[in-house]
Symmetry: D3
């Protein structure tokens, strides 16, 4: 499948500007995924920011949390669907397909999470994420206690809020820059 | 002025859990501002995340950029106004008042940035930030080239997009947690 | 603090056209407030309408009602926040700060009334005002009986509806004319 | 045609409470229209307010203005259509039919003003009224100068803004109270 | 009452292109209604499609269903009101007036169905139709079981969904083509 | 890949009720596609309607038109994306992938058509379809003449409007019934 003709609408960063300390990280991407995700090349435009982005992202999506990695990716896709973010839907849709080993789940979350037959706990988590994305000023105590009634702790609420918020951030950077996903994502986890 | 009765809706983090390496940062806040911003106490609930948050925030708002610190705060307030985020409007409204030495500018951006009589370059910057906040999927090439016609470089576009995105993240965390601003902000920069 | 450079976007009315019977009213404003509110100078463009505006306004906000003056101002600010009306947020935000002697309450209602820790009766009143402002055609019998369950009488419901409606009117005139508030409001009731 | 079974959802006001000075006004309605418009009976719940309402309304809709009475009614219907206000669409739709002697114009404005083949000046007037109704905070200098390019003076702009604002007020009171129009309106001006 | 000056914004179809098999249908319209509805002349632009349109329409609105013809017309008007479709509001508003012999019901559904005092079963049907029109992706199992609790069968749910969907289709074609209703509709069923 | 556990939320229709004249059509589906699309099984709940649906659909999507079959499918997917219709995004997304032999185009239209690098003529067609879907009452003469400036004839405008309208219909039926797509679509045209 052909690569998109641009990483972003900006003049591409020259990978030779990649700070030395980040080179092993890029190499790890190539080793594990076979490519460097375009989001990193986009952020390379501002290398100091790239370093912070990687740290925050890895802690958020891969660090310790009682939300599983799949659940965090489910939030990522559902938020990105609300915001209609092409980059994140392609990249994180692939992640949901892989982690869940359920290609249809990835499609459901990307198109309309309400059609997925989810455990009520996960459905409540995604309902909260969508409300927080769409009408953040309407979130209220009933929404928070709704999560706690589904067994989410205060720390879990923090993590749900942060993953939701973070993709509202990256969705907007991707839209602003016209960021295109690597072609490889399209075929991942199609089963 | 009395402090709000809660930092967030969650059980407050115990400051004794503050990692040692972050203690000088909290002390610097107390020395410079007279208090630790509640957003940091909120994030202390997840100390690893606090460390990343501080690094990203400081680079974003205080690090090198051809956007002035005031301009970055102007975006912060305008985005937070769209999202009706009480914490960020109070805290960053104070920052706009102080940095601009124009208390009315802070009020204008917090209530409706369109009433402010801004240089067209700054107005274009805020129009972009609001469109990216409100209807991110409608940002297009005309919006990007509009910014470049006002003299913004590719790096500036990145920075505008990132500040806009970042406050769409923190606004949502603040809403989700019912985060309350320190009382001191209300009187800062009132002139 | 400097006065704004215009009262409205229209050619200013000449105060010499002020009808004689209204001169004492303007004098009373100067005596009590120290200035004539710009809204009156805006309406002076159409002196017959000014007279009616003053009568309706004074009855509505200061006349007999079982809603307190503060409660009427709270509705004014909350509606103006929904409509993002700079003039009314500045002028009536000051009124809430003064009448409540609680500067933070003024900020909360102006930014997002949902964060204020209000008695449930007042919260119900503001929820009704916001729904009536945002989606008037969705108001229904359940909304009305909700108010009556909080102890509001039929007359109170009328008054809540009328204050809400009235600020939907003046907010729009202020937006249409680019009406700017007197600088004095900014510092009133900051405590 | 049968009268609706209620004037408003509130306990009806007793017409014996009608202040003496307003009795000739009600009589004039009966003489000219054959009935007292229900909006007046609704406002009779608060007689002091009724007096102010009548004065403001008559000046606004019938007093001197370079907008014709028909044009003011056209704004009334178009605004009420946006707000889906049954009372005002029935009562002022009838007025447009009568004043214009064009029953289809009344239907067009009530259903979707964009389908009416209007002079560009009137179309600009209604476009302004709808924008001011739907997204008041987006009105800007270009909208104002657009009106002036169609020959509207500053006073005309004031009047367009005020009629628009006023029906945003009465539409909301009518929705809040479930106000029903007199049956007679339905057949007026059907030609 | 004068006919509108155009059937649609397109060059009108020549009735001589009407396929022979459809001529009796047009004749039946002239016999029963006194005119051929403009929607048919609009579709004549594409005669093959006209044939399918007539078949689907007649089955949908006149064929066997446990929804009465009036109920199907009530959905048509309510959906068209949400979509502000002039053609359908005029044509199907007339049908509601005639079938119900209640001219005010037609006006209520066209302006704001919420003001009509309907049996709860019909109100539930229209609430479903409006939700499905306005926010189709939010329809859920509770909405479906709500209908069944009001006695609607699976087949009825299908029919409600299909009538709702169909007018979302024809409303859009009417808007796209600027389709104008025959003048005769305006006076039908006015009682 | 497993089939979804339901065709719709309704009790499934028994295929033995399939009218004899439609049996060859179902057989043709099995021969060509390997399965009967679930939308047909859904409509089988009302067999008379199924017959009309098939005729209209086949004429619309496969019949003579100067819009190519791919272009009609592109409208179908773009409209279904706006309406977040899972069934149609899966089924017609597969069609775009197959007809275009460009799997990424299918993803782009399903997620956010604005990211696709389309000929301006096709982009104008999709912009019209989205506006007609999202805010049908705002379509105006400028939108129509915009299409004609891109070379679309009156008949083409009719066809664009009708395909757009039709998917606004079927999207709503699919949402109302919780219609699930056949599993086979997911892997079609993935290249």
């Amino acid at each position: 499948m052909p690569q998109p003709d641009h990483v972003t609408a900006l003049d591409p960063a020259d990978e030779s500007t990649l700070p030395e300390d980040l080179q092993p990280y890029f190499q790890k991407c190539r080793d594990k995924l076979g490519f460097v995700p375009n989001v990193l090349l986009a952020w390379l435009k501002r290398p100091e920011k790239l370093r912070n982005f990687i740290k925050m992202y890895d802690e958020l999506m891969l660090g310790p949390s009682s939300l599983s990695k799949l659940e965090r990716e489910m939030i990522a896709v559902t938020v990105s669907s609300w915001n209609r973010c092409y980059y994140c839907l392609v990249a994180h849709g692939a992640a949901v397909r892989k982690l869940s080993e359920d290609p249809q789940l990835g499609e459901m979350l990307a198109f309309n999470y309400r059609v997925a037959d989810l455990p009520t706990r996960q459905r409540a988590m995604l309902d909260f994420a969508v409300k927080l994305t769409a009408v953040p000023h309407e979130i209220n105590e009933a929404d928070r206690s709704g999560l706690s009634q589904h067994g989410f702790s205060d720390e879990d609420l923090f993590d749900i809020a942060e993953v939701t918020g973070f993709f509202n951030y990256t969705n907007r950077v991707a839209h602003a820059l016209d960021m295109m996903p690597n072609a490889e994502y399209h075929t991942m986890g199609r089963g």
